[in-house]
């Protein structure tokens, strides 16, 4: 039999796991999956997408969480809508298999049976549900314990690293912060009412395994402000096993370490907590004991003005239950952004437009040297009238 998808068949070759075989499994059972596959083959032939703009598609009580998707060639592709569900993932993507099977069963019943574990933002992505089943599919997912994630101009689904569940470097409980913030912001996640998207990501240490600094408007990154914990015996064991400790101290970005063959000395005053030496010698070195997080604001991809990395706005905050200080700060930031941003303006672009000075005053944060690499080099700074009054 001649294959209907000769171009996609090329992607079945090679050692890396391929997705075309996954389509084929579902195409054998589900018409919508077959049509998605056939449409994709035409995209490969014509070098273009055949999906159209979505339009407003959702379920009762929600504004976000479902992304509308229609085929531009319904004679080949799915004729009656082929929408995406974003389903909120449990913290750090840990699953009991019965929970995952539940999602699979519901999804096979109503949709294409094709999915991502997970989307770039972190949600479970269910790809391809016809319009008429959206409400039923959601009802069944929600009655079995799963809820939608964010989409559109709302607080998007948060994500976090595996933190204390499986990593010794986590400076606070990333999973609990993820879950607490997600529950606190349910209304903001499900009801798009903001100028644009707002992303929050949570990493337990400066290694930032969920790339929060690059990918989240608000990044919460674990850190400490006392001394790196050293087990000198374990350092010597690394040396005995052939690890070049001297080379590690020379690669330290602040050169705050010394190794004399017997003892590792760290000048913690000069350490910038980059994690490099800890990454190299996890048995011997650990983050300090006075732990918390650095809060950074503004990370985003290019659209519109440029890609941004998060900027330090709070050098150190204790992150302890019930996280009142953190939640209050996020609420002040989001509310200020909501009230001041233009349509499709992310918080970084708003701050760039109006100035950090205006932002800091509005949300009540003090200016501190940790916020900048170096002070300004132009003389165009402003004085508020109340700052001048004392002159009289």
């Amino acid at each position: 039999m001649v294959s209907k998808t000769p171009l996609l068949d090329e992607l079945k070759k090679g050692p890396w796991p391929g997705f075309v075989q996954e389509y084929e499994k579902m195409a054998a059972k589900k018409e919508i999956a077959k049509r998605m596959l056939n449409q994709l083959e035409l995209s490969y032939r014509d070098k273009r997408t055949y999906w159209k703009h979505g339009g407003a598609v959702t379920v009762k009580g929600y504004g976000g969480g479902v992304i509308g998707r229609y085929s531009a060639i319904p004679e080949v592709g799915p004729p009656a809508g082929c929408h995406t569900f974003r389903v909120a993932q449990p913290a750090a993507w840990f699953y009991k298999t019965d929970a995952l099977r539940t999602v699979c069963d519901v999804w096979e019943k109503y949709g294409s049976g094709l999915m991502n574990l997970h989307g770039s933002t972190g949600d479970i992505i269910l790809l391809g549900a016809p319009s008429e089943v959206l409400q039923q599919c959601f009802d069944e997912l929600s009655s079995k314990g799963f809820d939608l994630g964010g989409s559109g101009s709302d607080i998007r689904s948060l994500s976090c690293c595996m933190g204390p569940a499986l990593c010794e470097w986590s400076c606070f409980d990333t999973l609990d912060v993820y879950h607490t913030l997600t529950m606190e912001f349910q209304d903001w996640i499900h009801r798009p009412a903001f100028p644009y998207k707002f992303k929050i990501k949570i990493s337990g240490c400066p290694n930032d395994c969920v790339a929060s600094l690059a990918r989240a408007d608000l990044a919460i990154i674990g850190t400490w402000r006392d001394e790196i914990q050293i087990d000198q015996e374990a350092v010597r064991e690394y040396a005995k096993a052939g690890v070049d400790i001297k080379a590690i101290t020379e690669r330290c970005p602040t050169r705050c370490m010394e190794w004399d063959g017997k003892e590792l000395k760290i000048n913690n005053e000069d350490c910038t907590r980059c994690m490099y030496c800890i990454n190299k010698m996890p048995k011997a070195l650990r983050p300090g004991k006075e732990r918390g997080a650095t809060i950074l604001l503004g990370g985003k991809a290019t659209i519109l003005q440029t890609a941004m990395l998060g900027w330090v706005i709070v050098p150190f905050m204790k992150i302890e239950k019930p996280y009142t200080e953190l939640i209050d700060l996020i609420k002040r930031i989001v509310t200020w952004w909501d009230e001041n941003a233009r349509t499709r303006e992310r918080v970084a672009e708003l701050i760039y437009r109006v100035g950090m000075r205006v932002f800091l005053k509005a949300v009540g944060l003090p200016a501190v040297p940790q916020m900048v690499f170096r002070p300004r080099n132009n003389p165009y700074y402003f004085w508020a009238p109340e700052e001048l009054e004392e002159v009289k």
Partner: protein, 354 residues
Amino acid sequence: MPIMIGPPHYEQMLHPVIKKNYGKWLYHEHVKPGVIKHVSETGDEVYTVRAAIPKIISVDFVRMLCDIADRYSDGYVKFTSRHAVEFIITDKNKIDPLIKELESKGMPVGGTGKSYKPIVHTIGWNHCHTAVIDAPGLAKAISDGLFEYFKRNDLPAKLKIAIACCLNMCGAVHCSDIAIVGMHRKPPVVDDEIVAKFCEIPTTVASCPTLAIKPKVLPDGKRSVEINPERCMYCGNCYTVCPGLNIINPKYDCLSLWVGGKVPNARSPPMYSRLVIPYLPNNPPRWPETVEAIKKIVKAWIENAREDERIGEWIERIGWEKFFKITGIPFTDKHIDDFIFSIRDFRTTTQFKF
């Protein structure tokens, strides 16, 4: 039907050994490619076994993962931020049989330590209306090409690649060792009828970062817009807000390659990816030119970088002028930024290499 219940609570999803040792882990070590050992202060030891899976999977595939997890990891399974699957094993005798089973089912085990990691990418022609390229297919082709680096721990450092199908960059590729972005090269084509019917004119005009869009009134009184082609930089933001401004143009659309970004703070601070190749042909199903370009850059990095240098750290040490020399990639006027934040990259010293 309950609404706004939020995600399932994580405590329901944690293996008993994870719950018992929550916050008590002492250290971890790399056992072999794809296997990490975690040791707790309680004396417990667990092993993580990591395998690559396709980005788009069927429910049957997920059920197969569940079956494997039921047999090897007590019915628990987890996923990583780079979309790999991980099984947490308490009995180390199960590691090798698990690896054998995963590989026999097409899931290679690796991607830990100093290795090639699974690509983070967007959904492409599979399910998106603005995709220029098909990230899932391209990711498969690149991963086949770099497969030898996945089951290793001896690269200079980690190697992370990301793909975004268009400038919207849902894959947030701007801080990856190597990034591919699908690009347009022509302004959108205005379809007056669709603009008049579906688009809000002020929003569409305001969506343009270079002020290239102006409103216009058609002879029949309907409202549309016109685009100044001199100003348009093909970002596609207007197409996102207005379906009447089609920017997709298969004849001219292409790929671009970016290099040297990183996210972790370890050693050097996070860095942006930088433009290295402004044009690569959009050549499905396997994009051979792009795969070859990436292999060449990776090879140059492996041959020239010092221990623990990510690609960006290596290039910053030797200088970008030297990177272009070593790789033989031509440097053009497109490499010099001419948008609003450009001058931060201009060289303001006589110190450079020839």
